[in-house]
């Protein structure tokens, strides 16, 4: 089965240790995810790509217990739907990224816990490719 990323340019792939790809403003230093062409803080247009830290801390989280409206959601629905966790992980001195979490059990998730980036299967597309997404999982 061919594995393909959900989108080009949002994480390094294939890679032993994949990383998210963001932007840093060359004028004010703010970091965004994903990349963008102008700065949301100072409106400068000099943004450079930056690969982001693979570890951070869980800043906010919830669970998604029903399939989101489709479109735009393209993942499994009906009996194939599995609840998943979702949250923001704060990458130190960089940015908070919104992400799927590998855990959907409220007992297993706590604000402030250490998380690390993984790339996991998300769905199988019409051509039979396995579509991969970034996610974060608890460390340890």
């Amino acid at each position: 089965m061919v594995r393909t990323p959900v989108a080009e340019g949002i994480f390094t792939w294939p890679a032993e240790e994949p990383q998210l790809i963001g932007s840093r403003c060359t004028a004010c230093g703010i970091v965004t995810f994903p990349t963008q062409e102008s700065c949301p803080r100072c409106a400068a247009t000099g943004m450079t790509d930056q690969v982001l830290a693979r570890r951070g801390r869980l800043w906010a989280w919830t669970t998604q217990n029903f399939p989101p409206p489709s479109p735009p959601y393209a993942g499994p629905t009906g009996d194939a739907f599995e609840p998943y966790g979702v949250g923001y992980v704060e990458l130190p001195d960089e940015v908070k990224v919104e992400t799927r979490l590998t855990d959907a059990d409220p007992e297993a998730l706590t604000a402030g816990m250490e998380m690390e980036l993984v790339v996991v299967p998300f769905r199988t597309d019409d051509e039979g490719n396995e579509v991969m997404t970034f996610a974060f999982r608890p460390v340890g």
Partner: protein
């Protein structure tokens, strides 16, 4: 130039098969006109808000083709606040003496959906399932509960209050009281929020007739004055819906900005407010918005709810008509439904949900995607 509200009208909120959004808008307008004792031909201008109806101004086909300037408004969940603010400004500027703000909508059931690219979000964000508003509200209240010591049972108490108030409101969508146990026992949609803690998109319309304050007594023995009406959008660092990322730096949300601006405009403070309408997209949003609008400190909600402070006969009555939880959210009409309720309360026309002690100052707040808030302050 000060502005007064001299007429309010509502088409009930709920599900109305075979009735169009425009037809509901016409019903609301006719009721507001009757309330003000004026005719459609007296109306000099209109602002109309809707998400689903492309041209709210088409309501003139049902009301009368009088040729008035009629401007359509869409501004997310703050659509009705925007229509009200623009209508008030048209009078403040001296352009007109008497006009109307109307909101109408007719949504399909289920969570709102759209193309994420229309919200400056990448396609993959929607493909992965992130483009859904309910999980934002789940994350925001979950973090707030963690930071400020709010319990899930407080969320259930807030929802139960709003269903209870809705049961006293003949115009409400959901009129059946639900117990805390039933609310907590309904399926979790986005932890810690359960199904019965959320409002639903639905259908309905509301209208408000406005005039120059100095003319108000001509139309009404009980005019209500619009002391402030503000709309704000998010600043960098606010925790907002549909955000693939947030900066490390943090700041307050647009509700706080809109609220502070409104209190400054009105020259009063939260302690002067007698009846409150807050955006309760979910029970957690009502809890958070109580603090964001200055009605308590973060964390105080736990005790306030336990003591019944948010009840109709409490010290800070909130969502006396059942709020969004009991009325649902027809986006274009929702904020004018809040104004309708506050005006009825300030006139002493709250029927069996009347706030005791002749309330003199009322407050309304809207919040929604993609980080927009609207506030109004009214007084007798």
């Amino acid at each position: 130039m000060d502005v007064a509200i001299v007429g309010v009208g509502l088409h009930p909120f709920g599900r109305f098969a075979g009735v169009s959004g425009i037809e509901m808008g016409a019903v609301a307008i006719r009721r507001a006109l009757a309330d003000a004792g004026v005719e459609w031909r007296d109306i000099q201008f209109a602002f109309g808000g809707s998400y689903e109806v492309d041209n709210p101004d088409a309501v003139v086909a049902l009301m009368g083709l009088t040729g008035i300037p009629f401007t359509d408004v869409y501004n997310g969940c703050a659509t009705a606040a925007s229509a009200l603010t623009l209508a008030a400004n048209a009078i403040r500027l001296g352009d007109h003496d008497l006009g109307i703000a109307v909101g109408m909508d007719k949504h399909l059931p289920g969570a709102f959906s759209a193309d994420p690219r229309q919200y400056a979000c990448p396609s993959w964000y929607g493909e992965l399932g992130h483009f859904v508003t309910t999980k934002f509200f789940g994350m925001k209240i979950n973090k707030y509960m963690h930071d400020h010591g709010i319990s899930q049972s407080t969320l259930a108490k807030v929802a139960a209050k709003n269903y209870r108030n809705g049961a006293r409101n003949p115009n409400a969508f959901r009129r059946k009281p639900l117990s805390e146990e039933e609310i907590l026992g309904s399926p979790v949609l986005n932890y810690p929020l359960t199904q019965y803690m959320f409002c639903s998109p639905d259908e309905g319309a509301a209208a408000v007739v406005l005039c120059r304050a100095e003319d108000a007594r001509r139309y009404s023995d009980t005019p209500v004055y619009l002391r402030a009406s503000t709309v704000r959008t998010r600043r960098l660092g606010a925790f907002e819906v549909h955000s693939p990322w947030l900066p490390i730096e943090e700041t307050v949300g647009p509700t706080v900005d809109a609220s502070r601006a409104a209190f400054e405009m009105a020259g009063i403070g939260p302690e002067d407010v007698d009846v409150i309408q807050l955006q309760d997209t979910d029970a957690g949003a009502e809890v958070i918005h109580l603090a964001e609008n200055g009605f308590c400190a973060d964390g105080d909600q736990e005790a306030l709810v336990a003591d019944g402070a948010l009840e109709i006969d409490g010290s800070r009555p909130v969502n006396t008509d059942g709020g969004l939880i009991a009325n649902g959210e027809p986006i274009g009409a929702s904020g004018l439904r809040q104004v309708h309720e506050v005006v009825r309360q300030l006139r002493g026309q709250g029927d069996d949900r009347q706030v005791p002690g002749a309330p003199k100052v009322g407050y309304t707040q809207l919040y929604g995607a993609p980080g927009t808030a609207g506030v109004s302050i009214l007084s007798v």
